[in-house]
Symmetry: C2
Subunit: 466 residues, 2 copies
């Protein structure tokens, strides 16, 4: 072999190895810092325990905007700002109340909660017979004859055999989101929906619902019932289909109010117009304190900027932490962010969301071209020491979704999902169920991907074509 070819090969290998080893060092520095000097857990403690549930339009949501802005202000970023956005304001009102009536006067109280966006029951509540279904097809099969004047009880359980629990959730969420609109078409008086949880317990799980094109006068109240109570109701119905169910809720939709996305930015040193974002959503449901959904994603995103800065790495591209408002019941913040980005012709090349809980990170789901997927997968060995092994194609997250376009890599952090739906949208989504190390490992994993994306640049399909 020609000695010059050998030399070139040798040099290539050296450069490659040095780069690999530099990356290894940089990732180690990021993980070490997150695990020994992370700020995510302290921030989350404040968000959860000093502020609490942060439903869009609430005082707590506004406090969270102010708190996170203040915290980012002192991180020494290049810019921190609030992006105004009008959000819906739905208020739960006084605690809901429900019981199963097996005979007149013989009742068993059961835990329910109004679904987000639902209308109230009449003041005195609503009592009617119940028809149990597991699907929209069931409604069709039963028809108006068997549904009119009754409550529809959607009782499709999440499939426990599905390992990645978000998929089991996807198979059931139609009940919560569209159940009321579908049942109203057949003359139902209201809907009771089995909580979307794999755990049998006494906590109802709320979540957004929509009436779609149902006229205002035809909208019926919708509530979630705990999984234990759903089992009880189903068994009771099997014994006697004529039992009645009573529930009362006085939730209310108010006019939209102004709120904000909170954005912090480190300006890129070489390609400031190429924008990379990390994000989570600042709003949460009101039953718990929203520690996992999505306080975790918020504080991890903030810590990504801090870790990148503290590691001494100077990003070439602009990196933003975007704390979206109103993911839970409107996605207004995400849509506003994308709308402004489009109007300003901002070039977003990468968007990474953390909205699957603050559990041990397992990897990433990626919504991008084949080339981009291969690029990220090529970094797999760098992540191995941190037990990050999952690089899959799939949805990234609701908040970064509106940025989808030809030249942007959308990504979602994928933590271990076994415990997520025990807490999701329930009173048990609280700080005590977040483990400090698991949260910090998530932040470090996100920061590491941001670092690699920035250092190597995102393969642009348009460049490949061109």
């Amino acid at each position: 072999m020609n000695i010059r070819i050998l030399l070139v090969l040798f040099l290539c290998c050296t450069v490659l190895l040095r780069s690999q080893s530099e990356d290894e060092k940089q990732l180690k520095a990021i993980y070490d810092m997150a695990l020994t000097n992370g700020k995510a857990y302290d921030w989350l403690n404040y968000l959860s325990n000093q502020i609490g549930g942060r439903l869009s339009g609430s005082v707590q949501a506004q406090e969270a905007v102010e708190y996170t802005k203040r915290q980012m202000d002192v991180l020494g970023l290049d810019r921190v700002w609030l992006q105004p956005v009008m959000v819906p304001k739905w208020v739960r009102g006084t605690p809901e109340f429900a019981y199963i009536e097996t005979k007149p006067g013989i009742t068993t109280n059961v835990p329910i909660c109004a679904l987000g966006g639902s209308v109230a029951t009449p003041d005195g509540g609503l009592k009617a017979k119940v028809v149990e279904v597991q699907s929209i097809e069931d409604l069709e099969r039963l028809g108006r004859e068997k549904i009119q004047g009754k409550l529809v009880f959607f009782n499709r359980p999440m499939d426990a055999t599905i390992i990645r629990t978000f998929r089991a959730y996807s198979g059931c969420v139609f009940q919560r989101y569209g159940g009321a609109a579908a049942a109203a078409k057949y003359g139902a008086l209201g809907v009771i929906v089995r909580s979307l949880s794999l755990k049998l317990d006494d906590y109802p799980h709320t979540g957004s619902m929509s009436y779609g094109d149902t006229p205002v006068e035809d909208r019926i109240p919708a509530a979630a019932i705990s999984t234990n109570a759903a089992e009880l109701l189903s068994t009771t119905l099997k014994l006697n289909p004529d039992i009645k169910f009573y529930f009362r809720q006085n939730c209310k939709q108010f006019p939209d109010v102004e709120s904000y996305n909170v954005i912090g930015e480190i300006r890129g040193s070489e390609f400031p117009n190429e924008i990379m974002i990390v994000g989570g959503h600042l709003d949460s449901w009101d039953l718990g304190d929203g520690a996992h959904d999505d306080g975790a994603g918020v504080v991890q995103s903030m810590d990504v900027l801090r870790l990148i800065k503290a590691s001494g790495y100077r990003p070439k591209r602009t990196i933003r932490a975007v704390l979206f408002m109103n993911e839970e019941n409107g996605l207004r913040g995400a849509n506003k962010y994308a709308e402004v980005a489009k109007a300003k012709k901002e070039n977003h090349v990468f968007a990474l969301e953390s909205d699957a809980g603050g559990f041990t990170p397992r990897g990433f789901s990626l919504d991008c071209s084949d080339e981009n997927f291969k690029q990220v997968e090529g970094w797999k060995t760098l992540f191995e020491p941190y037990l990050i092994h999952l690089f899959v194609r799939g949805g990234s997250g609701a908040d970064v979704g509106p940025l989808k376009g030809e030249n942007v890599v959308l990504a979602g952090l994928r933590p271990d999902s076994q415990r997520y739906f025990d807490h999701h949208h329930a009173a048990t989504d609280t700080f005590q169920y977040v483990n400090k190390r698991e949260l910090e490992l998530g932040a470090a994993t996100m920061a590491s991907l941001v670092y690699l994306m920035d250092k190597y640049g995102i393969i642009q399909p348009k460049n490949i074509k061109g």
Copy 2:
């Protein structure tokens, strides 16, 4: 190409594919059953909440022996029996008490607990100045002059930057196990050991300690102090090295008592003399209810037999669930099991232990020949759908250790380890911190490896040589 060669190739591929697909189905059946009809969680509930902490020689340990035997009796196994073994009986006595005295009469109470096997303090307790160290070398450096008549405070924290937390534990456990023996050589009056936990909280973590060859009259009391209190003590010492520490404990070692390993067996249909075991330890520390350490391993091992049977698979080799007694402070059960196996010339080919908590399983550590490691690693893709990705060489577990020999594959289930040391040996090792699905996934993962090991047989190095 010769048509006959083609045909043979085609047949080989078909067999291989069918076998792969059979294995996929079998694993799916095992996981599905564990997740929808697992018994592990119910058994653990009883062990934890009806029986509680199961320290060797305690009434609870005996109750656990009887309960697990009863449960295995009804599984329709070929044989269930108790294997007698003498175990140490150490009793904590009345709750320990400790304070930091900054000035005479100015005290702050701190949470401590006696280490397992420690002697008591004098009846009135022990008060002395404190010297803080992080290693045995520190003792040497300080010498008798600075240690005699004082309490030695071992304050080496677990290294938070180590991702696999058992490694961080290994780097610190000498303080607990051998600290008292080492400090006694320099005339210390007692030792206080920082709890082996990565979490800052108020729970002391107990664990076994040994006086080694220290003469009885020279043995000094040893206690663990919570991590928060360790930080407080350290800071206080920096402000004033002359402060005193008081502690009182009246734990006591009694004569050995008889206890049992509990063993259940499915007899192999083809090679009954080849024995494969799955196991965990039935005893636990006394502060919590031992749900993670190692109630989880016990119920998972029991469920492995049940899952294998219920899946309809008929094992060729004999499979045993062995619930070892006295792992925590003596390893007598494990030694007895190995001793009996040797005496009976039993041929153990595979031993899998679960003793790292009931968390989401990540994979296995294997202590075996290169050939055997490659064999197991070859099944990696079968485990991928269940997010099992970690196949590493390393320690298997204390209880299967005594079986180590030329022809046996020793394995340990490796669950996610981030939360383990928050609970390990502390009052917080309780049932509420075990997630049902995570526990069940562990049982299914163990059963799957047992199935594959049984179906394909263990490559025997002696056979390779011969």
